[in-house]
């Protein structure tokens, strides 16, 4: 256990070193990098993915995966836009969007936690199904024309230079860090993620823990979808399409084990910063999308390989000693 803890700390230290290196390189490369405005932009341009990565961390540590998050984002945004378009006041439309998120989460949880189907399959179905509903609602239209306060919420600074979405990210980060690392539920998530069978035998209500995970994941995704709509000022059916992979990338790069039971929110926070700074730096250096994806893909492979290779080397070393 202490080995694992030390290992994790090493991971976060490595991420921190990588982050510092990237920031240093970026500031040498572009004179526009080190400015408050650029840092706000850097966060703001991917803030919705960052928010969803928080709950994704809990889900993956709990030994599951939620592939439906991006579709839930799209669904929530479309439910909001559609009800608003039908004449409902926007606050009501937002509540309905969040409710749609909760329903999607309950649906996922039912099949996974109570019927016992694998989350990979269930949420893959969700990815397709929720996106389908979103597209049916909006057809091929784009709906915009939201009230000013809503667009301001997504586009203008709320506190100091920070937008509301960024403030919400930090609040949620602290909230989920407390839940995961300092609460009873958090300990249960690690236990269930390490060995669900053993947890069940020792009296943990595994189904309840999993329901909590999938409902929070979908609710936070729905909130992120609404925030995304506010940032762009208009909604269409393909919103946030494909975001799930970027989100999972951040979580895995953060040192969370895809097999569950291992990882910290701090690691994921650092990984988000690494990805955002890397993308932003490459953007300012006029390096375009394809190359950016290539670099981040390579980083992810390294992140999965490195700990395993390290373990291997260590085991061999130990084998020689004894």
């Amino acid at each position: 256990m202490t080995g694992a803890a030390a290992m994790l700390r090493r991971w976060e230290t490595a991420m921190l070193a990588l982050l510092i290196a990237i920031i240093a390189l970026n500031s040498l490369d572009s004179r526009y990098f080190l400015s408050v405005g650029n840092f706000v932009n850097l966060f703001q341009l991917s803030i919705e993915k960052s928010i969803v990565a928080l709950t994704m961390t809990l889900v993956i540590i709990g030994g599951e995966i939620d592939l439906s998050v991006a579709s839930v984002m799209g669904l929530a945004a479309c439910v909001m836009a559609w009800t608003f378009h039908q004449g409902a006041p926007l606050p009501l439309a937002i509540l309905l969007a969040l409710a749609a998120g909760v329903l999607a989460g309950l649906n996922n949880a039912f099949w996974i936690a109570y019927v016992g189907l694998p989350s990979l399959a269930v949420t893959l179905a969700g990815l397709i199904g929720y996106r389908g509903v979103a597209r049916i609602l909006l057809e091929d239209r784009a709906i915009g024309g939201f009230p000013d306060w809503f667009n301001r919420l997504g586009q203008q600074p709320a506190i100091g230079p920070l937008t509301a979405s960024i403030v919400i990210f930090f609040i949620l980060f602290i909230f989920f860090a407390v839940v995961l690392h300092f609460s009873f539920l958090g300990r249960l998530i690690y236990v269930v993620g390490s060995n669900a069978q053993a947890a069940r035998y020792s009296g943990v209500r595994v189904a309840v823990v999993k329901t909590d995970l999938f409902v929070s994941s979908a609710l936070v995704a729905a909130l992120a979808g609404v925030l995304y709509a506010a940032r762009l000022g208009s909604v269409r059916g393909d919103m946030a399409d494909g975001f799930e992979l970027d989100i999972i990338t951040a979580v895995l790069l953060g040192g969370v084990s895809i097999f569950g039971g291992k990882g910290t929110l701090a690691g994921v926070g650092l990984a988000i910063l690494v990805i955002l700074n890397l993308r932003n730096g490459m953007g300012l250096a006029d390096i375009t999308g394809n190359t950016q994806n290539y670099v981040i893909g390579g980083l992810l492979i390294l992140s999965v390989l490195a700990p395993n290779v390290w373990e291997d080397i260590r085991n061999k070393w130990k084998g020689r000693e004894t």
């Binding site: 526009y32 341009l45 667009n151 494909g242 300012l284 006029d286 375009t288």
Partner: protein
């Protein structure tokens, strides 16, 4: 039709007015240092590469010491990618950004922020639908003309008996394609086209594979369909290939907007007997001139302003009749390609 004549008359009047008021035609001052970004819908598509070529030609001619940046997103990430590039350009203090908009009005907040920092925002190929955050749109051809040309090609391929046809478009929110489809629907109301029946519209997102499967799906869904109209250079090739692969070119034809070099084989073998396009090289060239002159204050984005765009001659900024508000520079003209002239153009 009457409406169309009226607006044409209004346009003619508008074109006359500034001449009487001031016949001044602005010219560009070469050699000014202006950092500019050319932003296509996404990278890896031939027409956008051609536009880039045209813009580079103009850049060379205007002796701009700062190299033109040609930056684009990946097709899978077009909306978020375009927004990111506009935002980064704003941070970098670029002077002008030229956008082929693929994000509908979702680009507006980023474009407005760019304008607030003093950037000139010129759209080309595909405008911002609401025109918010945009200085001027460089239009390839008049959108209502595109609708008419598409209807004419359909009629000439299918013959006087007409028949059923479907549209295979790009993404559902590509404002240029949507405007052309709307223009075609308007054109179809003319009695001349009474025998043509539009039965379906599908979207291939300007991805070859998706367009290909969408074309196949159209064939399966509508056994009596006689033509697929694809107003996108990606869709038209994919549709022609799908029909050729399924050996259906005798029964179903393809038409639309395409590049001669990509359509050569299909026009020769009869899968796509006619298609149309304008020069993307010229569009890139004119867009660069427009943005350069705006950024160097040689012209203002105002109705009635006239300017000389190098080898392409004189252009003027007018109201955009295809949108509720917004200004445009109209390039034109159109070329319809068939088996007689496609080979020469493909070289």
């Amino acid at each position: 039709m009457r409406k169309y004549l009226m607006s044409a008359a209004a346009c003619a009047l508008l074109a006359l007015l500034p001449q009487t008021a001031s016949a001044q035609v602005a010219t560009a001052t070469p050699g000014k240092d202006v950092s500019m970004v050319l932003l296509p819908k996404f990278l890896g598509i031939l027409p956008f590469d051609q536009a880039h070529k045209g813009a580079e030609e103009a850049a060379k001619e205007l002796k701009n010491p700062t190299a033109l940046q040609f930056l684009g997103p990946t097709p899978q990430n077009s909306v978020a990618g375009q927004i990111e590039i506009v935002t980064n350009a704003t941070t970098q203090g670029v002077k002008a950004i030229m956008i082929s908009n693929n994000s509908g009005d979702q680009i507006v907040p980023a474009a407005k922020a760019a304008q607030a920092k003093g950037l000139k925002v010129v759209t080309w190929d595909s405008p911002i639908p609401s025109a918010d955050g945009e200085d001027v749109f460089v239009a390839q051809v008049d959108f209502s003309d595109i609708g008419k040309v598409m209807a004419d090609m359909t009629l000439s391929i299918l013959g006087p008996d007409g028949g059923k046809f479907a549209i295979l478009s790009a993404s559902p929110d590509a404002s240029n394609q949507n405007a052309w489809i709307a223009a075609m629907k308007t054109a179809l109301k003319d009695a001349k086209y009474a025998k043509l029946e539009l039965i379906d519209t599908v979207y291939g997102n300007d991805e070859s594979e998706k367009s290909y499967t969408q074309a196949q799906a159209l064939v399966d869904k509508h056994p009596d369909m006689k033509l697929i109209m694809a107003p996108t250079s990606v869709g038209i090739v994919a549709a022609a290939k799908a029909l050729q692969d399924e050996k259906l070119c005798d029964k179903i034809k393809v038409s639309g907007l395409g590049l001669p070099s990509e359509m050569l084989a299909y026009t020769k073998n009869g899968c796509a007997p006619q298609f149309a396009l304008w020069s993307f090289i010229d569009l890139g060239y004119l867009t660069y001139y427009t943005a350069y002159m705006l950024a160097t204050d040689a012209i203002k984005a105002e109705e009635g302003v006239k300017f000389k765009a190098g080898r392409m001659g004189e252009y003027s900024i007018t109201k955009d009749p295809t949108r509720a508000k917004g200004l445009r520079v109209l390039m034109g003209p159109f070329t319809v390609y068939n088996k007689d002239n496609v080979e020469a153009a493909a070289k």
